[in-house]
């Protein structure tokens, strides 16, 4: 469960900042949780740095279930990042 091909999704202002709706990535070894994935994403360029800047209210879902930074990620997982929900 170290390096894994992941399907990533971005919504709302995270989508706008990273500049894409979805992508498939192969993170390096050591990226095994949502928290470590997010650290890695932050270093991928200015758009990602802006989307995942410390202090921003970023939420996550792994395989369409809300997740926390400690949630493990496995090969083939769908991982989504988004702001706190505002529907209704």
């Amino acid at each position: 469960m170290t390096a894994a091909p992941l399907h990533l999704l971005y919504f709302a202002w995270l989508r706008e900042r990273v500049g894409m709706r979805e992508e498939t990535v192969q993170p390096p070894a050591g990226v095994a949780t949502v928290g470590t994935l997010l650290e890695w994403l932050r270093g991928r360029g200015p758009g990602f740095a802006a989307a995942f800047a410390p202090g921003l209210p970023v939420r996550c879902a792994v395989n369409q279930e809300f997740a926390g930074p400690e949630t493990p990620i496995a090969p083939g997982d769908e991982v989504a990042f988004f702001p706190p929900v505002t529907g209704g």
Partner: protein, 168 residues
């Protein structure tokens, strides 16, 4: 059991109530909530609102919320319809229906459903202001408080902190 839909098109309130109640004689009360787009946001005029969602997860989250309500209040019918896309002031956004043997259950379940929908279903609103500006709506503390009064913990709820000492 429950009817759960995400759609661009408007919904027909009378038809949805009929779908839940027609031919049934065990329902004593049906509660309903209809959310609509207001012409102002925090006092600033808006021309439209765009609703984005997470296809797949949205339907799952809505079904889970409906299932909770059905179990808690022994509902005889439950409908959740949420619109997405560009909506102008006056347009319908969301419809919640809860039918039960008695009114208390129907009305409580209706309040529960809209409170949880607002905090547990992956929808995001962007407001388009009359002056050309646009902004994503921030989550409201009041909505979290309203949702929390029903208990249920954080399962099925977006987490409050993504990374300790870090990203939010």
């Amino acid at each position: 059991m429950a009817t759960v839909r995400v759609q661009q098109a408007d919904f027909d309130i009378g038809a949805e109530v009929a779908a839940v109640t027609a031919g049934r004689t065990d329902i004593g009360g049906t509660g309903c909530f209809i959310g609509t787009v207001r012409e102002t946001a925090d006092g600033r005029p808006i021309t439209a609102m765009t609703l984005e969602h997470y296809p797949g997860m949205t339907e799952r989250a809505m079904a889970a919320i409906a299932e909770q309500a059905e179990a808690r209040w022994s509902l005889l019918g439950c409908t959740l319809i949420h619109r997405v896309g560009r909506l102008t002031p006056g347009a319908n956004i969301v419809l919640v229906l809860a039918a039960a043997p008695h009114r208390q259950a129907a009305l409580e379940a209706t309040a529960f459903l809209i409170d949880w929908l607002k905090t547990r279903a992956p929808f995001w609103k962007k407001e388009h202001f009359a002056d050309g500006a646009e902004a994503w709506v921030a989550a409201r503390v009041e909505d979290d408080a309203a949702a929390a009064r029903w208990g249920g913990g954080t399962a099925g709820r977006d987490r409050r902190t993504m990374a300790p000492g870090g990203s939010g």
